[in-house]
Amino acid sequence: MRSGYTYLLLGLIALILTGCPPLCEYKLIEYGTLSDEAINCSPYLDGQSYSFIHSEGQEVSFLASRTREMQTDYYDECTEVRSESDLSILTPDYPIFSCNVGIRKSDTTQYSCLIWAGGSSFWLPFTIQIDFGHTYFDSIQIGQNWYREVYKIGNNWRDGIPEGQILADSIYYNTSHGILKILMSNREFYEISN
């Protein structure tokens, strides 16, 4: 009697298994580690403070934390992609937004750098094909100082910033100082202070 139940159970298991999709072949794609060139896109140092002045005069200091790690993403149910990422988080000492600069290998040869600030995001244009509009300056004055090799980068909102909202419209950035200026959609701005 007991063996009868065993056969029945085995039969049910076999039936269930035949209903499952065939097991796919596991694939691991390694994008590898970030190059020095990629890492140097973000100048932020862990534990260091960076100051900005708001257009109305309030100084805001951001404390940087920087981490670098290998990340695994699932491309599909059978494919894993491993790539290195580097994330700088700037936390303000004043109740406004934080800023992030994230660098990541986007395939085996290229990398991308995405900046989040003031509720908007921005692709650093020379790191990726997607470009929402940028202007390059050999040198430009921001606040009291002149800066070299500066990109003014437009935000990634496809249909523009939602009406009435105060979000970051564009940023000025170079790889030696990071974010130099954040221009908000209501014309307020935050400028780097030295």
């Binding site: 708001h54 005069g57 309030q58 004043y94 937004f97 003031g118 009435g164 105060i166 979000l167 307020e188």
Partner: protein
């Protein structure tokens, strides 16, 4: 024979339990509606609409309405599998998100007597519920701890001596740098003071038929509603 009786009891119990619930024909049906005068505390905005807050140092931020729902929450009680009472309670929920990532929630719920309509306001994880009839804050949730009063037939009682020190007062008017508002609910956080950080919201002002008009942080920085 004994096991057959046990099986019968078990089946009956299971039947009764499974029948208890959302019956279509309750013996008694009740509806609780929010008083119109209390609904005026809700913001008159629609989803996607934006209002601006400006702080004492001239830094502006926008709050966008992300949710605005009105529903009738259904609850029921049963006895021996028979739905004895079904009640429908009017509830309203509003949510807003700022460009700086702050989250504001305003919700209201009707209540069965003797308890009155209540409003729950949350801003940056400081969340309180206020009963209009008893003029009492009966629950407070913060990142530093929670306090809840016990709801009884006679009102609210603090249990475990956990009294809520925070207060709500209804102001006749409030004058800000950018306008004057009539009938303003003013919440002041007075609990968990030892744990506050600079960014803790310690005061909230909500004006009738307007919405959030002012808030103050523990650092002393305040933000006020800026006209469109």
């Amino acid at each position: 024979m004994r096991s057959a009786i046990k099986l019968l009891y078990f089946s009956m119990g299971f039947f009764l339990l499974s029948c208890g619930g959302e019956g279509e024909h309750p013996l008694k049906e009740e509806h609780y509606y929010l008083e119109e005068v209390h609904k005026e505390w809700l913001a008159p905005d629609s989803i996607g609409e934006v209002f601006i807050m400006k702080d004492i140092n001239g830094i502006s931020s926008s709050f966008r309405m992300t949710g605005n729902n009105e529903t009738f929450g259904k609850s029921w009680s049963t006895f021996l599998g028979i739905n004895t009472r079904t009640s429908y309670t009017e509830e309203c929920f509003q949510s807003f998100k700022s460009g700086f990532g702050m989250v504001l929630g305003i919700s209201m719920r009707a209540n069965s007597p003797p308890h009155g309509d209540h409003i729950t306001i949350s801003l940056e994880q400081v969340d309180f519920s206020y009963d209009f009839d008893f003029e009492t804050i009966y629950s407070l949730y913060t990142p530093f701890g929670n306090k809840n009063l016990l709801m009884t037939d006679k009102g609210y009682e603090a249990h475990d001596d956990l009294e809520i020190m925070s207060t709500v007062e209804i102001l006749d008017s409030l004058l800000t740098a950018y306008g004057t508002y009539q009938e303003v609910l003013h919440f002041t956080l007075k609990d968990f003071n030892n744990y506050w950080i600079d960014f803790t919201v310690i005061e909230i002002y909500l004006a009738k038929e307007v919405g959030l008009v002012k808030y103050v942080l523990a650092s002393g920085i305040s933000s006020e509603r800026f006209p469109k």
